[in-house]
Amino acid sequence: MKPVAFETVRPASLAEASRLLVRHPDAKLVAGGQSLGPMLNLRLARPRLLVDITGIPDLTTVSRTVDHLVIGACVTTAAVEDGRGGLDAVPMLAGVAAHVAYRAVRNRGTVGGSLCHADPAADWPTALAALGADVIMSDGVSGRTVPVAHLITSAFETALAPGEILVRIRVPLPSRDARWSYVKITRKAGEFALANAAVLDDPERAILRVAIGALRGPPLVIEDARTLFSGPVSAASLDRAALAPLLDAAGVDSETQRTLHLTALSRAADQAASSSRALAS
């Protein structure tokens, strides 16, 4: 389990990284390498060139606008877990981060890398989709913005065009009274999810959004989830019959899978209902 021979470069700018990707069609981007590393060792990925983007200053910064937290693609999950450098502006994120794999992986693994790897069972796609996050992608010349839920097109596939790089993640700041939960069902601590679900209940912004992950493809995002609940958000008010066709359409075809997804969402609903005010004062 040793990789095929490859070169690595560590460009200092986005434009240079993008040029390298265009020039070398068999190049691969690497940030934390926590998913790519094993794939290289298993020879499932066989790039001739690795473009290490962790040296590009823009990609590791965290900033805040009036209504968004903006996270550089190469910010590590551990930094989010620790709430470093203003990452605590969206306090929901730390709780998600704390359950991604285990600390050694979080120390190197990046939020942007996880999104681009596009594993349906990962934590960030579901959680960020529920928070209504966008990603900003750039080819070094021009950029575009798409919702997280649209970045992942299918398992391990993204909407990134050749030469395009995920630069930033923009997370809307929730209201002070927003309620939130993220539930992940795993066989063991730190494993990929058998099922996961997130609920954001933010009446001040008129948002009740649900995301269900660990499906065959991208997370199932229900932008207006009021129709899923017969009353205030809770497991008891969840309309399972209304959810069933959505899960079917997302390719859930076994009874046990359906049970796991329903359990994840039911528990997320109950936990959201009982969660204290999500935002720190």
Partner: protein, 781 residues
Amino acid sequence: MSGKGVGASVPRTEDDRFLRGRGQYVADWRVPGTREVAFVRSPVAHARLRGVRVPEGCAGRVFTAADLVGVKPVRAITSIKGFKLSSEPILATGKLRFVGEIVAVCVAETRAEAEDLAEQVELDLEELPAVSDMLEARRPGAPLVHEEWGDNVFIETVEDRGMTDEVLAAPLKITREIRTARQCMFPMEGRGALAFFDARLRYLTLVSATQMPHIVQLGVADCLGLPDSAVRVISPDVGGGFGYKGLLCREEVVLGWLAQTLGHPVRWLEDCREHLTANANCREHHYVVTGYATREGRLLGVDCVAHVDAGAYSVYPTSAALEASMVASLIPGPYDFRAYRCRSAAVATTKCPILPYRGVGRTGVCLAIEAVMDGIAREIGVEPHEVRRRNLVRPEQMPYDNVMGRHFDGGDYPESLRRAVEGIGLDAIRARQARGEPDGRLIGVGVAIFCEQGAHGTTVLASWGRPVVPGWEQAIARLTVDGDLEIRVGTHSHGQGHETTFAQVAHEVLGVPFERIRVMQGDTLYTPFSTATWGSRSMVMGGGAVAEACRILGERAKTIGAWLMQADAADVSVSEGCVTSASASVTLAEVARAWYLQPQHLPPGVDTGGLEVTAGYRAKRDSGTFSYATHAVCVAVDPGTGLVEILDYVVVEDGGVLINPMIVDGQIRGGTVQGIGTGLFEAVPFDAQGQPLASTLIDYLLPGAADVPEIRVLHMETPSPNTTFGAKGIGEGGAIGPPAALVSAVNDALRPLGVELQGVPLGPERILEAIAAAARKGGDA
């Protein structure tokens, strides 16, 4: 006393280097000029190998079976009647019989480059249908793994003792069908070997992560056509074994051949994929077991049909017969009944061979017989532990020869059960169940009791038809000039702490300060021949040998010491590192100086063997020691996720006299965690084409720290009447009880839903499916 002899929880000597990262494992050895090896392995489960195309320009770097002229295949035979021989070529010829079988070997400067070479080797294959399932393999017309056999059965064992029409007509007849998953033993360190020719000592030297250096020495020498005296095997620090490192590896033979042929050192370190798929798996059993009992739940007899999936080949030295014949002999467990029938078969499939894993057949067997006990309890409406109690061998029956002639050497099995039931707090759990859980989970409690034959001696192993039968286990004890003590043993610690415990034994006998005793092991050059470390034998056998060698050494020291003190040898004793008479004493260092440096002071007629003794040991009765234990577990089952959380775990263990109770507790806890792995997590599934579906640790789940409860260990102590100090083999027990206890507990939890699960592991999908099936059934009714 110093508090460091037998019975003391002395901190482990070896931990200083292990915990500081200074252990010396195979991968830490450096020999200049070493090249790395990668293997070309079969990508398919079953195929005719029509040819191997080595890429141009790779001569001298890639080798196939055609190059290994004169190298003999691995043939693990047993003299058990009817056993069919499998011949496992070192590099495949003719046919490929499992995914991962070695076809060619590549040598390069680095492992990555060796893997580059391996990718270029092309195999010309004619695929054959796989035989992935042991029951399918027995059907007429199933594809044959070894055509010349005519079927897929290595061996079938039949036991029939005392079964009568009366027993068969018993009022209760409880049948359970149980399957255990194929697992992979997963020591932290995988396999690995480094081979080179030592020109000075003229040995082909193999540094290998093995539990049994002398057996590997014999096996490698035999396959390469060398005398065993031409091969030296060094087994340095070994990072866990559990049985995984208890066989001769084809890779070891290949490395030996390469080192001889190429004239430079070669090294192979097993990677995780090779570990999970290609070397050896374990534990895959199938049982249909029936208990015949009275209305009071008293067991009258047991009938069993058992299958063991032995994989494609018989491994050396244990052979494919071992596990199935153990299963047949162990089903009766710790219970008292006199009618028994069992038909067990070791079945060949197109999967990698199996090896005995900690507990060997006992883990599955315990699950099978305890399922019958639970079935009887359900039928007659009493607590499961009560049914067990009614059937256990009682202390007044000890020593007890069971229906299979196993000689239980002592103990109080019902008391062990009672303490476990009390320890887990059964009454409080029943009350909690009646209240229900606020989070909707279901609580369950389970128990399992077993006894464990360990340290099997010559008589037992000879009767099993083993090609290598252990005899007098030997140890060498030597007093150095300064009065320090060197101990050499042929057993090999792969984590058990023998450097500590054998030193405790020597300290107990001679009183040489614990810190001044050095235990040496793991090198065929300077240790006595031994079948080494397996079957919970090292402390009983190796420890017995150390004690005996030290005792004889003490006698020699007494003769010299008495002469130095001008006392009569009959009036002196050895203790606390001195030879002592009524009025004086001399230290062992003074005795040693007399022997080595001042021989003019030695008595006339002194034993010219000096202060170095090789002594052998066999237990007074070598039918094995019988440790026993009860495992009790309380679980919470989540009907929404199918996940099982272990809330509490109690083990009540009787291992006789414990040499180092702290180490024993570690053994029990470690074994229990592995048993939890069997019960809840671990499985290597195969698809219909015989592809193993768990080839990374993403798919092969091992219990981690967060998945394991605090395991509470309670001890009983019934000394073995047959061994030095009354010690019993204790290394495997922890891994035997958990699957049975967990299945019992999960079934207890799910009983209100009408669910009864059989088999392991109890993963969430299996539990959710069973709950859904029970709901459908309930809905129909």
